[in-house]
């Protein structure tokens, strides 16, 4: 099912006018039609910057240094805001972390969904409104006709996120980027939202790029996973492979640091931690950026950044990959 709908090649993003301060240090990946790709990493690893780049929403303080982003084979004009307006929502939808911040408090939620439809399609108002009600129904909101006229503050966090999902899917995009869509929500609501996303994916065939730091979510919702660390791709693999035989020490560290009641607890503490902190983006280190925190690091790691190794669907960038399987 090698049918990449979205292809990112060697994407480098730097602080504007400072090509030495790299936020993304050359990241390549693809998303196949209809699949869920999870992008995992900790704050500052570049996962949100990647999604903003795809949407052409990079903040003014940064710019693309090199690389291409292709959607259905053609390059996205991410620096051209007018051209990108036609892509956003119509072809690539986006769900943000804070549903309250993603909606305008001064307009009823139905109007905000309507706005998306009217931006992209010429429809009589009644038909567009019928579509709004239909969308709100599809995302399982109760009494959509009444709810459409509610202002955001009247809705709960989970309901707001459903509205945002309705907006993102209003024009049947082929790709949905969900940036930490459940981080602000309670765990039972998180499950409802993830279930909704998976069901909508099954019904519409939309590909989902799920950006998250929650490995539990990844385990149960993603087909493939890309792990990022400090602006680099550390590892990429089908979900099962990544969990059962992670090769990159950072992936292993993340899995070990995640609380898991079904596994025996680690020695010397309650959780196995990764010592140290993420290096600053301005740090001009030439080697592997994980080396200062890595137990296997050698001179080679500190001197040269590891070239990616590809083994089938599994890829990783490490000089000394772990080989033992995890149970």
């Amino acid at each position: 099912m090698a049918n990449p709908i979205l292809q990112v090649e060697n994407l480098q993003i730097c602080v504007r006018k400072k090509p030495g301060v790299l936020i993304l240090r050359g990241v390549s990946f693809h998303v196949n039609a209809g699949e869920t790709l999870a992008i995992v990493g900790e704050s500052g690893c570049g996962k949100s910057m990647t999604s903003l780049a795809i949407m052409g929403l990079l903040p003014d303080a940064v710019e693309k240094l090199s690389g291409t982003i292709r959607f259905k084979g053609r390059e996205l004009p991410i620096a051209d805001n007018r051209a990108m307006r036609k892509v956003r929502a119509a072809e690539i939808g986006m769900v943000f972390q804070e549903p309250m911040a993603a909606l305008d408090p001064l307009y009823p939620v139905g109007k905000q969904v309507l706005e998306v439809i009217e931006e992209h399609e010429k429809l009589p108002r009644e038909m567009a409104w019928a579509r709004v009600i239909d969308l709100l129904t599809k995302v399982d909101l109760p009494n959509p006709e009444t709810l459409a006229w509610s202002y955001p503050h009247k809705l709960s966090g989970g309901q707001l996120q459903r509205v945002v999902i309705a907006m993102a899917l209003a024009c049947n995009p082929d790709v949905l980027i969900a940036d930490e869509p459940t981080t602000a929500l309670d765990v039972t609501v998180q499950a409802q939202i993830m279930r909704l996303l998976k069901r909508l994916q099954r019904d519409t065939g939309v590909a989902i790029v799920l950006i998250t730091h929650n490995l539990g979510l990844v385990a149960h919702t993603a087909d493939r996973v890309m792990v990022m660390y400090a602006g680099n791709k550390a590892e990429e693999a089908p979900t099962r492979d990544l969990f059962l035989s992670p090769r990159h020490p950072y992936t292993r560290g993340l899995l070990d640091a995640t609380p898991n009641p079904e596994r025996a607890s680690a020695q010397g503490g309650v959780l196995r931690e990764i010592p140290g902190t993420v290096p600053s983006i301005a740090d001009p280190m030439s080697g592997c950026r994980f080396a200062p925190r890595c137990g296997n690091a050698s001179e080679l790691c500190r001197a040269r950044f590891p070239e990616p190794t590809i083994e089938g669907a599994h890829g990783y960038a490490c000089h000394h990959p772990g080989t033992d399987a995890r149970v």
Binding site: E42, S43, G157, D186, V187, T188, Q190, A191, Q192, M194, R195, K198, R199, R202, H213, N214, L215, G216, L217, V218, A219, H220, T221, T239, R240, F243, L244, G253, L254, L255, A257, T258, P259, N260, P261, E262, R263, S265, G269, V270, L271, R272, E273, I274, P275, T277
Partner: protein, 270 residues
């Protein structure tokens, strides 16, 4: 000296928001032994933070008893509270908003000692530095300001500031939920070591049942202002009794691909 450090009996808290009265805490009773970690788990709005604030004397209870080491603290006045506060300290959720950005780190950590006039000026600074070392911060960073630290380091500052008073009980209100997974593990392990070395007791407030299962001795599940289930952490996780606990566990994605997704994640679930 009894083994029970904190005992709460039928505590109610209510206050007015606009024109309506709300009752975030509805008749809570619990006890915490010396050296124990009790986790208070619930979803947002269940009243767990209000309960913590009431124990700290930041919110007045409308009825009920809070006994600390046998003494009732629910009805204390300003002066009584000040004498009592050194015994219970708190670590807050957000390491960004809980530190004054205009004060140097060593000042921030020393401040509780200044307020309570504990020791001489010079020894206070020395104690602040000892505490920094204890939580894993280099003492020569004492002259820096909070913005120069990462989230995890700031949470270490918050812990140092709480522990410089040598409290018996530390209330941790979601101390790691703003942190990344690898840093979260560092802070949890630090809290665990400090407890072991300093003989602390923790009231650990969290929404993350999976995290507290690895860390707490007992877990109290809180739902709509009441404790609906309380017991040994392992037991609550593996054999939940209350409907709310079961519903929460069914929704928690355990990071394990060899087991089926949790029931709440299945597309065809209702």
């Amino acid at each position: 000296m009894s083994n029970t450090l904190l005992r709460i009996d039928d505590l109610h808290v209510s206050f007015r928001v606009g024109k309506t009265m709300i009752h975030p805490v509805r008749g809570i009773s619990l006890h915490l032994d010396r050296g124990e970690t009790l986790a208070l788990v619930g979803e947002s709005g269940c009243g767990k933070t209000t309960l913590a604030r009431t124990i700290l004397g930041l919110q007045a209870p409308s009825s009920g008893r809070i006994a600390y080491d046998g003494n009732d603290i629910a009805g204390l006045d300003r002066f009584g509270l000040k004498r009592f506060r050194p015994h219970i300290q708190c670590v807050f959720q957000d390491p960004f908003s809980s530190l004054n950005p205009r004060k140097r780190v060593e000042q921030l950590i020393r401040e509780p000692l200044d307020i309570h006039q504990i020791g001489e000026r010079s020894t206070r600074l020395k104690r602040a530095h000892e505490m920094m070392e204890r939580v894993g911060l280099p003492t020569d960073w004492g002259r820096r300001f909070p913005h120069e630290f990462s989230g995890g380091q700031r949470q270490r500052i918050g812990i140092a500031r709480a522990l410089v008073m040598q409290p018996d009980l530390l209330i941790c209100d979601e101390p790691v939920s703003a942190l990344d997974v690898s840093i979260q593990a560092q802070i949890i392990n630090l809290l665990w070591e400090l407890k072991r070395d300093m003989g602390l007791s923790y009231l650990f407030i969290s929404h993350d049942l999976m995290l507290v299962e690895t860390f707490a001795d007992r877990v109290a599940m809180m739902y709509q202002g009441e404790i609906v289930e309380i017991g040994p952490a392992r037991q609550v996780w593996s054999n939940p009794q209350h409907e709310f606990t079961r519903r929460m566990i069914d929704a928690i994605p355990v990071p394990d691909v060899t087991r089926p997704p949790p029931p709440a994640f299945r597309i065809d679930a209702k």
